[in-house]
């Protein structure tokens, strides 16, 4: 909007206003939704986290009581550790595998379309389907372990999904299987945008291919990497359905995640206060993690940008 105004030649403040009206009308519903529903609901949740609400909202004020209980709740503390471990492993593994897949497809392989479809296909599935399929696959009595044992390797053992200290890794495996195709698609678009002249120049300089990818192409793909990371990070924060379908948070509390804690408290345990407090903690964490990036990308003085 500001660009359009700058390029046109306004004859006076009234003309400028009149020109803005259609745009303002068009944007009003979206703005209303954002302000009332998103931000309103956010403030409402934060407000409830300071109340003693159980099944229905109550607007009293109990200070930090819900947060104190939260920090003493083993399940929530475990959940935050789980999501941190999951988040780091998931994003790093997705970026690496997605990049390698994109590079592989970028070598002008045969049946490129088929490979691209296969790699992207898991992303078309819901997390519930992914979770259920991987639960069966990793189940010691039904899936991989049983199959390998039936082939004759009777000592083979792969029961991560029922081991409390390994189960988070199985969530990572399933989620990476699902999401790395998306990273591949995004990075492949970036790779296709790279000028072929650049490749010719590096060939003349006799730079090994892997070195070109690591030192030249990767820095050029930075915007795509940022986009992919943000999309993956959103997936981490809202991780819920995969856990529900795959492990139900078990064995014990070993694969609990914050979103599941919040949902359980809201809808099963009739405890709006505690659930809101957990949701607020999650919100603050996400904002704290995102704000350096938002600052670097959007708010830094223009002159300081490269």
């Amino acid at each position: 909007m500001s660009k359009a105004n700058a390029s046109s030649a306004p004859t006076g403040p009234s003309m400028r206003w009149r020109r803005k009206i259609p745009a303002a009308v068009a944007l009003a519903p979206a703005a209303l939704i954002v302000i009332v529903i998103y931000i309103g609901a956010m403030l409402w949740t934060v407000r409830l986290s300071f109340s003693s609400s159980k099944m229905l909202p109550v607007f009293d004020f109990v200070g930090w009581q819900q947060y104190e209980r939260l920090s003493n709740t083993e399940r929530f503390v475990l959940s935050t550790w789980n999501i941190a471990l999951f988040g780091v492993l998931f994003i790093v593994a997705c970026l690496i595998i997605g990049f390698l897949l994109a590079v592989f497809i970028d070598q002008n392989v045969r049946f490129e379309d088929a490979f691209r479809t296969i790699f992207l296909y898991p992303y078309a599935m819901s997390f519930i389907v992914t979770g259920l399929a991987w639960q069966w696959f990793l189940h010691p009595e039904l899936g991989l372990q049983k199959a390998v044992r039936d082939w004759g390797f009777t000592s083979f053992s792969f029961g991560w999904i029922v081991q409390p200290n390994r189960v988070v890794y199985t969530l990572v495996i399933a989620a990476v299987w699902q999401a790395s195709g998306l990273v591949m698609a995004i990075l492949l678009a970036g790779l296709r945008g790279i000028d072929s002249e650049l490749w010719k120049a590096t060939r003349i300089d006799a730079i090994p291919t892997w070195r070109v990818y690591v030192s030249i192409i990767l820095p050029m793909l930075r915007p795509m990497l940022v986009t992919a990371s943000v999309l993956l990070a959103v997936g981490v924060a809202k991780l819920y359905d995969l856990v529900v379908a795959m492990t139900k948070g078990g064995p014990g509390l070993a694969s609990e995640v914050p979103a599941k804690f919040i949902m359980d408290n809201f809808f099963e345990r009739s405890n709006l206060g505690l659930g809101s407090a957990a949701a607020s903690v999650l919100l603050v964490t996400v904002v704290a993690l995102l704000s350096p990036w938002i600052y670097a990308e959007h708010l830094r003085p223009k002159g300081a940008r490269k």
Binding site: K54, P140, V162, P164, K248, G250, G252, L253, R269, S270
Partner: protein
């Protein structure tokens, strides 16, 4: 109980010796695993006297004016409470009949124990969800499931955490 899924039943059978619980799915998967109550695992009912924890579901029929509809409702009702249906259904479900005047001798050991206990009003105990809030029930379940799945956790730790959960949610 969120922890009572088919998955965690298998987990129980695999990693710990079986506990018999009055739970539908647990019974189902236990039958599938080829084990029989009284042989591979036993039945423990609450307390030394064998109390029975009561909980149940309700069928609600919408009021209909149509005579055919009323007849169908009556038929469904009599079918559901039919002695043969009650016995056969609850053998598979892993529960006990909803009426106390049936012969349960064909059912397994767990069901016989349960059915006998229910006949004595002194042994009828309300399920936890009738006594404490969902919040407290859930918080206690978290403590219990963590204890059952953490071999290194001592009984004293468990007691302390249980007490803390009651205090925080009560």
């Amino acid at each position: 109980m969120s922890r009572c899924t088919g998955f965690s039943t298998n987990e129980t059978l695999l990693w710990r010796c079986g506990r018999c619980e009055k739970n539908n799915r647990r019974q189902k998967t236990t039958i599938l695993a080829g084990q029989t109550p009284g042989k591979e695992y036993g039945c423990a009912i609450v307390g030394a006297d064998g109390g029975y924890v009561m909980g149940g579901d309700v069928f609600v029929f919408p009021k209909v004016k149509d005579a055919n509809g009323q007849a169908a409702q009556a038929e469904l009702e009599s079918l559901m409470l039919d002695p043969a249906v009650q016995i056969a259904f609850n053998k598979k479900k892993g529960s006990i009949p909803a009426r106390t005047d049936l012969d349960v001798s064909s059912m397994d050991q767990c069901a016989q124990k349960g059915a006998a206990a229910v006949k004595d009003p002194a042994k009828q105990l309300p399920a936890a969800s009738y006594l404490i809030s969902n919040d407290e029930n859930g918080a206690l379940n978290d403590v219990i499931t963590q204890y059952l799945n953490t071999p290194s956790e001592s009984a004293d730790d468990f007691v302390a955490k249980f007490a803390a959960a009651v205090k925080a949610s009560g």
